[in-house]
């Protein structure tokens, strides 16, 4: 009984850990730039593919399999620099335009990045083979839990704390919050918004690419993996509240765990469950659990 409970909870929390990283990227960008970045799922996919390539290069160069997580995480973070390119090269032109243009532009990115992935890595599932099993398993109350899952959950938690610290305790965090609250005032006080936007978007991108890289040993990269995840990431954002980091954290846990429970108790509800929660939140608390009243 206890073992089953642990299995279900660990499944849910593992799913939530990845979901949080993607949703956090979505939130930080929306919070500051007011851009709803549809391409966050594509960054996730990009991180996954680059992660696999990095790990393959690492093992081909004779790197010890036990250390594969280092090149994996590093690649996931580094590929986040496409954020600067996308922000400066594309998004910076549409900040003053209607929101529809911004949505269209990020949607165009979704399509383009999917093709970039397909042309670069092909269409077949792409994976790190059996490295997932390198770290073995531990026994938790009679349940077998892959250690790698625990590493991902731990990493996601650390990143959540790190972002919380960054936003609350650093000068850059204060600027971000100021810019999110009142862009004109922040600019009037001498903040160079172009830099803030570039940094924030890169941070958002890197969260997504890191999420993709971290999940990949446990699964396999497929060109449409981002689209699958983005639907759930939207649910997370709606439940947690648009623009809220705490909302992303709690929302991801809610979606991950409720999905796992639904699959175990009444599998027909797997997808419906998430939408039922979304509907409930929209009816009872339209701004989400941690969302602020629109300004």
């Amino acid at each position: 009984m206890a073992a089953n409970l642990v299995n279900i909870l660990m499944g849910g929390v593992f799913h939530a850990a990845i979901l949080f990283l993607v949703a956090a990227g979505l939130q930080v960008v929306f919070g500051v730039q007011r851009i709803f970045n549809l391409a966050c799922g594509s960054f996730y996919a990009l991180g996954a593919y680059v992660g696999v390539s990095a790990v393959q290069a690492f093992t081909a160069a004779g790197g010890p399999p036990a250390l594969f997580i280092l090149p994996l995480a590093l690649a996931g973070l580094l590929v986040g620099v496409v954020g600067v390119v996308v922000e400066r090269g594309l998004l910076s032109f549409v900040y003053d335009r209607d929101e529809t243009f911004q949505l269209l532009l990020t949607f165009a990115l979704v399509l383009m990045l999917e093709d970039v992935v397909r042309l670069t890595w092909g269409t077949a599932p792409y994976s790190t083979s059996a490295l997932y099993l390198t770290y073995g398993q531990v026994n938790l109350l009679g349940a077998t839990v892959p250690v790698y899952n625990l590493i991902v959950i731990g990493a996601s938690l650390a990143i959540a704390l790190g972002i919380g610290w960054l936003l609350a305790r650093t000068a850059f965090g204060r600027i971000i919050r100021a810019a999110a609250d009142n862009r004109e005032m922040a600019e009037a006080l001498g903040v160079d918004m172009r830099w803030v936007y570039a940094k924030v978007f890169t941070l958002g991108t890197a969260l997504g690419t890191l999420g993709g890289a971290l999940v990949i040993p446990a699964t396999a990269a497929m060109s449409e993996m981002g689209i699958e995840l983005i639907v759930e990431a939207f649910a997370v954002v709606v439940i947690g509240g648009l623009g809220s980091m705490r909302g992303a954290f709690v929302g991801a846990l809610v979606v991950g765990v409720f999905r796992a429970v639904a699959i175990a108790v009444y599998p027909e509800l797997e997808m419906l469950m998430i939408y039922l929660i979304v509907i409930a939140v929209l009816v009872l608390r339209p701004r989400g659990l941690f969302g602020r009243v629109a300004v």
């Binding site: 269409t123 892959p146 899952n149 446990a218 699964t219 796992a260």
Partner: protein, 430 residues
Amino acid sequence: METSRREFLKGVGVAAAGSAVGFPAVVSAQARKGVPSGPVKIGVMPIRAGVAAPVGAAGQRGVEWWAERVNKAGGILGRKVELVFEEESNPKDTLERFRKLALQAKVDVIVGGISTAVGLALGPAAEELKMLWLSWDGTTQKGVEETMPNPTYAFRSVDNEVEAIGGALLTAKYFKGVKTIAGINNDYSYGHDCWETYQAVLKRYTPGVKSVLELFPKLGVTDFTSHIAAIQQAKPDLLMTSFWSGDTTILMKQAAAVGLFKTMKACFTTGGGVHDSLKKEFTPEGLILGYNSMYFNHAGASPLLKQFVREYKAKYGEYPPYECDHGYFTVESYKAGVEKAYKAAGEWPSKEQVAKALEGIEVESLSGKRSWRADHVQMCNFFQGITTHKNAFDFVTIDPVEVLPTAKIMKPTTSTKLLDWINATFPLKG
């Protein structure tokens, strides 16, 4: 398995080169009476995007390999073969491209179609446009019921549920003690039909067998940790799945991470679609694994299959999956159909004459003999067996290999009611 841009362009290049050499072929073609001089145009419709893209690539490679060989040997009745590619995607767009091939490119025959949703759209279009269509893997079934009982121009793949029947037969044979089963199948027609059919056949052998869990994740899901937790909770004796794409590999890996198959048997009816990604590190021995209609490592492989496997490995760095042979068979049977009809007519046959000639025709395909039944349904052998690590690869293969002919594991006509037939046929005698 990958279709790189270069290779894709090469495919286009082959088509272009084909049309370029079409003119010189005038000279050689005039040798035959009543045969037009230009090239034979074959429309090919592989899926290029999404989960089924590797399947589409495999079908295309099978066709390209065939075209290269046939052109080297002088073409069909002296006419060179030219491949014209159009992508298979959703039913609506694919239908438009199908019409474009028929009306604009004026091809002689169209091969391809993997999704049955697409097949349901192409079947009627083939009849309406009077265009020969030889499907690779798609059928014109809605669920397990046929929608086109008497086609003239449409030729379709084997019944969708055939692999599940084969899987159930092997389950009854190799896993005798199984009392409780769980199923994880994709949430669309193929997944549901396979699961229902598998249970129906297994019940003919083990009447008391009970389903304790049914999971239907949608196609494209990449995380099954929660599904596996549910399977662990349900504790079945056996897990059945008809997964055929990358999700097979993911399920296998995530199951291995928690030791799932240490406590239960498993039947992967169609997992051979991604066979070379099922690495030994995470794929245990002793599971049932189905390779659909071609098994690359078959001990009884023909010289043709051996050559194909060798050249495929050299060119793409991997071992060919089954869809290659669906592709190869459609074009090889078309060639045989044309030649047969030519003998009777004394001139290049019309599409109607080729269609008639195709009914009941048998050809040597990669996997062995394959044929079109008189009612336009593919007939072939299915290959399933028990996974083993005793091979020279880093992935699993099967031993023993059970060869299951469609004559035995598919209902004899498209109008036969599936359940009645199952109840009347199984358990098989002898």
